[in-house]
Amino acid sequence: MALNPMHQFEVYRIGPEINLGNINLSFTNASLFMLLSAITIIIFLFLGTKKKLLIPSKIQVITEMSYSFVAKMISDTAGSKAKPFFPFIFTLFMFVLFCNMIGMLPYSFTVTSHIIVTLVLAVVVFIGVTIIGFIKHGIKYLELFIPKGVPIVLLPLIVIIEIISYLSRPVSLSVRLFANMMAGHTMLKVFGGFVISLGLLGGWLPLGFSVALTGLEILVAFLQAYVFAILTCIYLNDAINLHH
């Protein structure tokens, strides 16, 4: 069982079974690690902002860096009109980043390697952005589906293609994060299994690969959180400024 690379993705119940009607609301290891990353973020930000020193401590520097990183990302991609949405994007970025990073610890569980978690995050972004677009522009927001300068004969076809393209946003957003995390962790486990099965003689090569892959995975964990947040900014930009 320990050699099965997919075993790490198993969701199991912790504590008693809770049923609400037909919905199973039991506390699982996935919920535990989501809670854990949320608590870690709160503690991290609390410690970083507790003492506001002029010459910042290490943790204060990291907190300020994460703030300015996200703030710069928003102003670069979506402009100054997107400033009110900073708290949402910051929360999203930190949550995905900490879920990914906590998943890198041995014996932990990677929440973002489950499609349902990433899909819910992406659908929240998608519905939120659509509502913002309709609030800002009213019915004119539907002009997003009609590119300029298209002959009237081709219009029905183009509109359907544009709608498919718009609907593919949450899918591509969620599949990207989920696939990257799952593939990376499976690969790590597979190489770990090679180390065990090849033993003391041949196990050194896969061990080296394992170390290199761990470094790569940490990069991917950060990069995927970044891509998730920056794409949210780009979609927000489409909704606020209405052009493509």
């Binding site: 498919i164 599949v175 990069l223 970044y226």
Partner: protein, 93 residues
């Protein structure tokens, strides 16, 4: 007093070094790797969405193989359009 002057000249030199480093790094940062990862899924996602819509409409209208084929190709078109747009956005930067 001499100490302060020394510090300020050192600061000047350090600032210049940072500027040079920043200019070197342009274009080869992690953001470009991010866009590369982004484009690869964009194509697949549109095909999935298109085929799913075709499948659902087929079940609804009872025209089994027809709509799924049409919407598959529309999904492919939408995917290529998505990739084309992101590539154009990258080029603009």
């Amino acid at each position: 007093m001499k100490n302060l002057k020394e510090i300020s000249t050192r600061l000047e030199i350090a600032k210049k070094k940072i500027k040079i480093n920043l200019e070197k790094k342009k274009g080869s940062n992690a953001a470009s790797l991010g866009t590369a990862l982004k484009i690869s899924t964009e194509l697949v996602a549109a095909v999935i969405v298109g085929t799913t819509i075709g499948f659902l409409l087929d079940n609804w209208f009872g025209t089994k193989p027809l709509l799924i084929i049409i919407f598959f190709f529309m999904g492919v078109t939408a995917g290529i359009l998505n990739v084309f747009r992101s590539a154009k956005k990258m080029h603009k930067k």
